[in-house]
Symmetry: C2
Subunit: 221 residues, 2 copies
């Protein structure tokens, strides 16, 4: 049988399509759990985040985060009716975006283009072991590197073990003008104090050989 | 800039790939909830299905099935510690396959090729309003129609509102030899008694015009 291509579909495929009486839609798991997040029907716990009460379902959190699982299904919690859990060192909008991702596997609309939020969410994802959210945030930060955000992104990459983001920063810094612009920012001061180890890497990678030799001599005195 | 095609990838895409430092994997929601099903950590309810005890998480069931939601988050259940719910008229392996789909959005390995199980699961999916499972089962039955299963599939299609499966059955019956073979099966007797309405449709569609006229005359006496 000769086979023609018709708008990208093989003729065997056309035969198959003809015989298809039922169209099975793609997975709706994320939509269904998103509905649960929206309605909060049957929520069995409450978080207190910066004075704001946020409801949630222990089963969903435990399924998606090993840290929540250990916290919420520990022996003390197991029989608690509707426990109240304090979350410190996190803004409530960051925590709510974390919950949104846990329930839907997607970023909330309002934070999708927000690079600062991506940084905060990366920290939250690392804290609660939500690996895919961490990668989503890392990817967003990689795509929005400039001189202003550079040092902060590098500090995040170092403190939260993000090899991709670190590599993206290093590639950006390979241009001397970018390097100089980064050194002039406030973020660089923070980077120096919070991640001294990264400075050694920067020197090893970007300082010209003769300056490195001079620095080694100076450091001996 | 000229653009070449290289193994199906545009050169602009190659540039993008070069700049990609982070690979974000596809959604792992189904894997995560599948893990919860396997471990049953934090299960907060028990079903009794044909004498077998099956654990589950109320939040997950309610998110995925409006029927479970109404049953499990009703006023009586809301404050029950770890309720026991009886399931009647269902085999435990069918119920466990239903749970597997609810937690993972996929069929269990052992039931994937089992056409009889697909029929039972279609009934369960209709009963608990798990629409996507119903379509998955309907699709499987459409792809396994033969003279032996025909009448049963047609009865299922009629009783559980499956237009795709009904159409697939009708297309199969358009061949007179298939029609005759189906009429000779035990399933046809069951079809006649359980779905008399479908017989009218079969007559309207497949009985030759002269026989229809004769039947109308006979029926008047």
């Amino acid at each position: 049988m000769r086979c023609h291509r018709l708008e990208g579909i093989h003729c065997e495929e056309i035969t198959m399509l003809k015989q298809q009486f039922v169209v099975v839609p793609p997975s709706n798991m994320c939509r269904d759990l998103g509905g649960l997040l929206k309605s909060m029907d049957g929520a069995d716990m409450t978080f207190n985040v910066g004075g704001e009460k946020v409801l949630a379902h222990r089963s969903v959190l435990a399924a998606r985060s090993s840290v929540f699982k250990a916290e919420l299904f520990g022996s003390m919690m197991e029989n608690a009716g509707n426990p109240l859990v304090e979350i410190s060192d996190m803004e409530s909008d960051v925590f709510k975006s974390l919950l949104h991702f846990i329930y839907t596997d997607s970023m909330p609309e309002i934070t999708r283009e927000d690079v600062v939020m991506a940084g905060h969410l990366l920290v939250a994802a690392d804290r609660y072991d939500v690996e895919r959210l961490k990668l989503v945030c890392e990817d967003k930060l990689c795509n929005h590197i400039d001189s202003d955000t550079m040092a902060t992104s590098l500090a995040l990459a170092e403190q939260h073990s993000c090899p991709g983001l670190k590599e993206a920063c290093f590639e950006f810094l390979a241009s001397p003008s970018n390097f100089e612009a980064m050194v002039a920012t406030d973020g660089y001061e923070h980077l120096k104090s919070s991640c001294p180890s990264i400075l050694k890497e920067l020197i090893a990678r970007f300082l010209p050989a003769e300056l490195k030799a001079a620095k080694d001599i100076i450091m001996k005195f």
